[in-house]
Amino acid sequence: MQRMFDRFKYNGLFVKMFLVMLVSIVAVAVTVTWATISMSERVFMNTFSLTNSKIIGQIEAAMDTYNYSVVLTANGISQSGTARSFLTEENGNSLEQNNSYYSMGRMFSQISTGLEAYEVGIYITGTNGRSYATERTFWPITDSELRQHPATERAIAEPRRLLYQYDDPREAGIADSEPAVVVTKAMMDRSSSTLYGVIYFSMLESEFRRFYSSFTTPGNDVAIMGTDGTVISSNREDWLGRQDQEWLAHAVQMQEEGLPYLEANIAGTSSILVANYNPSLGLYILNIIDKDRAIGQFIDTDTIILWVIFIVMLALIIVFLISRRLTRSLSLLVKQISTISKYEFDHHVSTTGSFETRQLATAFNAMMDELQEYVSQLVHTQKQQRNAELSALQQQINPHFLYNTLASVKFMVQQGSKEKAAEIINSLISLLQNAIGNASETIPVSQELANLRNYVYINHVRYGERIKVNYFVSPDCMGYHVPKLMIQPFIENAFFHGFSRKTEGHIYIMVSQDGESLLCEVVDNGDGMVLDAENHLPAPRGKRQQFTGIGVKNVHERVRLLYGDGYGVTITSELGEGTKVRIRIPLIEG
C-alpha cells in the first residue's frame, strides 16, 4: 500500500500527464467521430434527396409514358363512333350485334396498339347495358359487378378526369385474384354533356409496380398515392389501399413549401420523405426512405466507431509509452533528490534520461558540489577559528596558578627546603615550557604523561600527598600523539572537586589502545557527583586553581572539533563511589 502510494507520488507527473492526454484524445475522437457522422448524414440526406427526386422524375417519366398511352387510347375510344354506337344503340338482330361486336374488336385492336407494351385489360361499359372487355385476367370482375363498383361511381362523379384507382377484388370475395390499378374515364357526349359509358384500364398492381420497382430497395420504398390519400401502388404490400391523410398532408406540405425532402415518422419509423405531385396523372409519388436503414447502408457507423476506438487505443499506447519515458527520468531524478538527506551535500544524482533531465541532473550535481565546497570551507574556517580560540585559551596560564605555585615555592624556600623548591621550580618550568613553548598541537603520550607528573608533583607539594595519582600507560601507546593538555583538566578537576568530603583517595590514569582508537581514562574514587542529563561535568566553581584557560568542558568540544563526532569525552559518576572520565581519540602516529 505504502509502496503503491510512493509509486503514485513519484509517478504523479506521469499520471497527470497521461490523464490529460487520455481525456483530450478521447474528447477529440468523440467530437470528430460525431462531427463526421452527422456531417456525412447531412451530405447523405442532401445527395439522397437529390438522387431520389431524380428517381421520382424517372418514375414519373415511366408512368407518364403509360399514362400517355392510356390517354391516347381513352381519347380514341371516346372519339370512336363505333364505341359510341356500341354503347348507345339498342340490341339489334344477330347480324347487327355481330357487326357491332366485331367492329368493336377491330377498333380496339387498332386503338389500343399503344398499350400493347403493357399488360392491360380494357373494359368499357355503356349506359345501354352493353359492355366490352379485351382481357379480364388482371381484374377478374364481371360486367354486373363492374356496374356497381365504387370505381365506376368515382369515374362518373368526376367525368372529365382520368382517375387512377386501387381495387383489391379479394375484398369483394373473388378468390385467385390480385390487387389491380384501374384507370377510369367517363365517356361523355360533347354536345349534350351526357354520359354514355365508362372506360376502365386494368393493370395488376404488381405489374404497375414495375414502373418503379427497380428503384426500390429494402428501406427505400415507393408509394403512389391518389389525391384522396389512398395508396394505389407500392412495393410495400402492407401499404396497399391504405388511406392516410397524414401522408397526404406531408406530400402537400412538401409541394407547397418546395421542400427537397421531409423528415417524418412514417408508419412508425423515422423516415425521409421525397414526394412529388404529378398533375397529369393526378397522383403523388412518394419515396419513403427508412432513415436508419438507408443511412446504415451508406455510413457504416459501427466500422467508423471501431476504427476510431482502434486509433484512440493506438494513440493512447503511444502516448503512454512516450510520456512514461519522458517522465520516468524526471521522476527518477526527483526520487533521488528527495532521498538525499539534509546534510549529505556530497551525494550526486545519476545523469541519465532525456537531455533535459541530464542537464538538470548535471546542474544539480554542480550546485551540490559548490555547496559542499562552500560548506567544507566554512567548516574548515570555523574549525580553525575554534582551534585558534582554544589554543589561545590553552596558552593562557592562569596567573593564580603561577601565584599559588610561586607562593608555595616561597614558603619552601623560607622553610629551607631548597631542594624541594627547586623540584617545584623545575616542574613548573617544564610544565610552562610544554604549555607555552611547544607550538605543535599534539604531543606524544609520554610527554603528556611528563606534564601530568609535573603538574601532580606541584599539587602534591602544595596540598600534600593525601590524593595519590597512579599511572597505567600501556607501553605501546607511548608513541601516539594526543592534543596538548588533554588529560590535565580532568586531573585538575579530580584534585579540586573529587575529594571534598573524602580526605584521601586515588586517581588512576590509564592510557590504552582500544581498537583503532586511543582510550585515556581518568578514574577517581572520590565523592562522585550527580551528572546532568547530558553527562556534563558541573561548571567549576572558581578559576583560581585552573592551570590554563581550558576547562574540562572545552576538552570534549576540542576533541570533537579535531577528530569528528565519533570521538570525545564520556563521564560516568556515582555519588560516594567516584568519577570515571573516558577520552577517546584516534590513534595518531607522531
Binding site: S94, Q97, S100, A133, T137, P140, D143
Partner: protein
C-alpha cells in the same frame, strides 16, 4: 467489421465449393434433372389439379421421385417454350409440358429434336384415335393424350319444352335442324339460341372436324380453305344462324358464361370442359341436357367432334426417361386415376379403358340424371382424326375477317378464295 467477416466467409465458402462441388451441380442448373421432375401447366383448377392427382398416384409407388407442378398462363408457357427451344438450350425448361392440341404440331415440327418420343411408355391405341394425329409426327408418338375436347350440345330442356321439343328431338340432328329448332325456341321464349364471339370461330372448327376436315390439308402445312366443302358449308351454317336472328354476341369468356348463367341463351355447342361452367349456375339444375353436336348435312359428317383439349409432352432434357415413365404409369395406364379425374375435376380423358370405370357411369343430377361422362366418352371414340397442322390460329385470324366480309355480302366462294390467297402468302 461485419463486412470483412462476411467477405471472409463468402470467400471461404467459395473455396470450399470449388474444391468439393464442381461436377454435381451442373445438372441442377438445367431445367430438369433425374431426381426432380418439373411440370408446366395452365389452369390451376383443371390441368394443374389433374397433374397433382397423377403425381400423388405415382409417388405412392415411387416415393423417391420429386415432382414439381408449376402453374403458368398458357400464353406464358408458349412464349417461354418458344424462347427456350429456339435458343437451343434446355436451361430453365421443364421435363413435362402441357400443349394445346391445335398448337402441338407447330412445336413438334419446329423443334424436332427437343421433344422425346414416348410411344414406348404407353399403348397409343388405347387412346381416342383423333388425339393421336396432333400428338404424333411421322408415326412417332410424342404426346400423351390428356383431356378430351369432345364436344356436345348443351341445351335448356325447359326452353325446349316451351317450344314443344324434348331433348330427344335433338339427337343426331344436322346444323340446319338445329337452326330450325332454335328459331322456334326464340319465337316461344324470346331467348337467343346460341351466343357467339365474332373473333372466335370455334364453332367452325367443331363443324369441319366432324366432317374430318380442317383448315389445312393432311400434310398439316397447306391451307385448305378454297374448295373445302365442309368449311364452305360451315360458313353457310354460320350465316344462316345470323340470318335466323337466334345469335347473341359476346366479347369474351366472362360474357360468354354470363349469357348462359343468366338464362339469356338456350343452347351451347362446345367442349365437355364447359360442363363446370354450366353447373356453376346451381339454380338451373335439372334444366339442362347434353346431346350430340349437330352434324353438317352435305358432307360426310358425324355427330361427334372436338373443341380444344391438350396433351402432355416430354422435353429432351435430363430426366426424360423418368418423365416418360411417370406419364406412362399415370395418364398412360392408370384407370383409377381417370376415375378420380372425373370425380374431382370432371375431367374426361381420352384413355378408352377408363370408360369402363365406375365414375364414368355415374349419372349427373344437374343434367336430369343423364350419364354425361359416359356419353362424352362414347362420342370421344367417334371423333374423326384430323391433322391440325401448325397454323390453326393464324388461319383462323384470316377467316375471322373473311367471315365478316361474307356476312357483309361477299360470296362464300370468294371469301374462302381470298382467305386461301392470304393464307398461302402468310404461311409459306
Amino acid at each position: 467489421m461485419k463486412k470483412w467477416i462476411a467477405v471472409l466467409l463468402v470467400s471461404m465458402m467459395a473455396i470450399t465449393a470449388c474444391s468439393s462441388g464442381g461436377n454435381n451441380n451442373e445438372g441442377a442448373a438445367e431445367g430438369g434433372s433425374a431426381d426432380k421432375l418439373v411440370v408446366w401447366a395452365w389452369d390451376a383448377n383443371f390441368n394443374v389439379k389433374a397433374m397433382n392427382l397423377a403425381k400423388e398416384a405415382y409417388q405412392a409407388e415411387n416415393s423417391g421421385v420429386e415432382i414439381e407442378v408449376i402453374e403458368n398462363a398458357q400464353n406464358d408457357i408458349i412464349q417461354r417454350l418458344n424462347t427456350g427451344l429456339s435458343s437451343g438450350t434446355t436451361r430453365g425448361l421443364p421435363n413435362i409440358v402441357l400443349i394445346e392440341d391445335y398448337r402441338a404440331q407447330s412445336f413438334l415440327q419446329a423443334y424436332p429434336d427437343m421433344f422425346e418420343p414416348i410411344g414406348d411408355s404407353f399403348q397409343a391405341s388405347d387412346f381416342a384415335e383423333y388425339k393421336l394425329g396432333p400428338t404424333s409426327v411421322d408415326g412417332e408418338q410424342y404426346g400423351l393424350p390428356f383431356d378430351s375436347g369432345v364436344a356436345g350440345l348443351f341445351v335448356r330442356t325447359d326452353y325446349l319444352e316451351e317450344a314443344g321439343y324434348t331433348a330427344d328431338d335433338l339427337q343426331n340432328i344436322t346444323w340446319d335442324d338445329y337452326i330450325e329448332i332454335g328459331t322456334k325456341v326464340k319465337e316461344a321464349t324470346g331467348k337467343d339460341w346460341i351466343t357467339l364471339d365474332p373473333n372466335d370461330l370455334g364453332i367452325l372448327r367443331m363443324m369441319i372436324q366432324s366432317a374430318g376436315s380442317w383448315y389445312v390439308q393432311e400434310d398439316g402445312k397447306t391451307a385448305d380453305l378454297k374448295d373445302n366443302a365442309a368449311l364452305k358449308e360451315a360458313f353457310e351454317v354460320y350465316k344462316k344462324m345470323m340470318d335466323a336472328n337466334i345469335v347473341r354476341i359476346h366479347s369474351d369468356w366472362s360474357q360468354y358464361v354470363a349469357n348462359y348463367n343468366s338464362g339469356e341463351v338456350a343452347s351451347v355447342p362446345t367442349g365437355n370442359w364447359f360442363t363446370s361452367s354450366i353447373t356453376a349456375a346451381e339454380d338451373q339444375s335439372g334444366k339442362w341436357a347434353i346431346v350430340p353436336v349437330p352434324r353438317l348435312a352435305n358432307n360426310d359428317s358425324v355427330n361427334a367432334t372436338n373443341l380444344g383439349g391438350s396433351s402432355w409432352y416430354v422435353l429432351n432434357v435430363p430426366g426424360k426417361e423418368q418423365a416418360a415413365d411417370f406419364l406412362g404409369k399415370t395418364f398412360g395406364s392408370d384407370v383409377d386415376l381417370y376415375q378420380k379425374l372425373v370425380e374431382e375435376i370432371s375431367a374426361i380423358g381420352t384413355y378408352m379403358p377408363a370408360a369402363e370405370g365406375e365414375a364414368y357411369k355415374a349419372p349427373n343430377e344437374f343434367f336430369g340424371g343423364q350419364n354425361v361422362i359416359s356419353d362424352f366418352a362414347t362420342w370421344t371414340n367417334e371423333i374423326p382424326n384430323v391433322n391440325y397442322g401448325m397454323n390453326t390460329y393464324a388461319i383462323e385470324d384470316i377467316l375471322v375477317v373473311e367471315m365478316q366480309s361474307y356476312l357483309g355480302g361477299k360470296s362464300v366462294d370468294q371469301a374462302l378464295a381470298d382467305a386461301q390467297a392470304q393464307a398461302d402468302t402468310q404461311i409459306k
